[in-house]
Amino acid sequence: MGISRREFLKIAGASAIVGLGGISAIEILHPGQFEASQVSRGPKALVGKRWAMVIDMKKLDKQTMQKCIDACHRIHNVPDIEKPKEEIKWIWKETFEHAFPGQEHEYMGEDIKHLPLLVLCNQCDNPACVRVCPTKATYKREDGIVMMDMHRCIGCRFCMAACPFGARSFNWRDPRPFIKEENKEYPTRMKGVVEKCTFCYERLAVGLQPACVEESKGAIIFGDLEDPDSEVSKILHSKYTIRRKSELGTRPSVYYIV
């Protein structure tokens, strides 16, 4: 073998130290294997600094909402579990009084109180879930998306306690039997991990808008808040929009026109 004992010990020692930092021994044994290669963004990838969404409830009817939900859940293999206790949802309908608790009042008409809204992960700019995750399984990407790394999640559910929007679901059992039609292009989840909406990061990577945006017939607008010329920026500048529980300081990136 080409390695002397001394060399081996050096590598073993170094890998024991560096291994904690996430670099494997193999990368040291084969230096440059991966350096020669490159990873990059796709040529068509949508790139932003802080992705955000404006949901115009005036333009959304019930059927379109359902279409948005169905498209999202179909594409992402979100299981359809009837037991409310174990339900998994990425985007769903919630009435005004429950989506914006404290904003309703007793003189409000039933139709406004019970007006269905679309709710999903708010992709907060200051996410409490990311702060509490003990393994960085949930983290904020450079473009503002609060991501889930399903490979790393240990299922402690601290993020579910921390999220003030109830946006996170846990896989209380193997979700596969509850997926009617699998989308082979996208993974399912395994039991024991937390999941949520990811702003369709996998679609942005190939230049597509999030699935719900595509289905919404213009009622949901998606764009970059850091870009003053983006449509979302212009709407937020000119129209009255509200966010869920903005008083908690998590700075949600999903805005509503009600």
Partner: protein, 154 residues
């Protein structure tokens, strides 16, 4: 050395101490040792008399690969054989955590970073390609708990 042991190993010593008598609860200890030994060699006992399992023969003869003009993987075969797990590990971090979805191989060709949509599009025979070796080496990667494996006959 302890006094007793000294006398034990010294043949000229007038007071040889029999070893077994000094064993308190000797039979209990012996039974315990036998049980322990039995349990520890259990895996070997199970395999006793059985022929060694045949070495794995992963198949790369899928229709997709047959159609290829130049039958090669994204990196050299020898490299893929030993390093595919490291590569997949890096891939998932690059794609999921860093949002970088294109891998430029050593030969300059570009590939989408995706287990299901890149690797398994050619290697559509998970049973004969992945499982063959993984079973032999008794490793159980949990890729397929989430990533959907290609439909296979049988």
């Amino acid at each position: 050395m302890h006094e007793e042991w000294k006398t034990l190993f010294d043949p000229s010593s007038p007071k040889q101490v029999p070893l077994v008598r000094k064993f308190f609860d000797g039979w209990k200890v012996t039974i315990g040792l036998i049980v322990f030994l039995g349990i520890s060699i259990l895996p070997f006992l199970f395999d006793l008399g059985k022929a060694a399992p045949p070495p794995p023969e992963p198949k790369i003869d899928t229709p997709e690969i047959q159609k290829m003009v130049e039958k090669k993987c994204i990196e050299p075969k020898s490299f893929m054989k030993t390093e595919h797990m490291v590569m997949l590990d890096d891939w998932r971090d690059w794609y999921v955590r860093e949002g970088r979805s294109i891998y430029t191989a050593t030969d300059g060709k570009q590939y989408n970073i995706s287990l299901s949509n890149t690797c398994m599009k050619c290697h559509s025979n998970k049973k004969k390609f992945c499982d063959e070796c993984h079973n032999y080496a008794a490793v159980t990667p949990y890729c397929w708990d989430c990533h959907i494996e290609p439909k296979e006959e049988g």
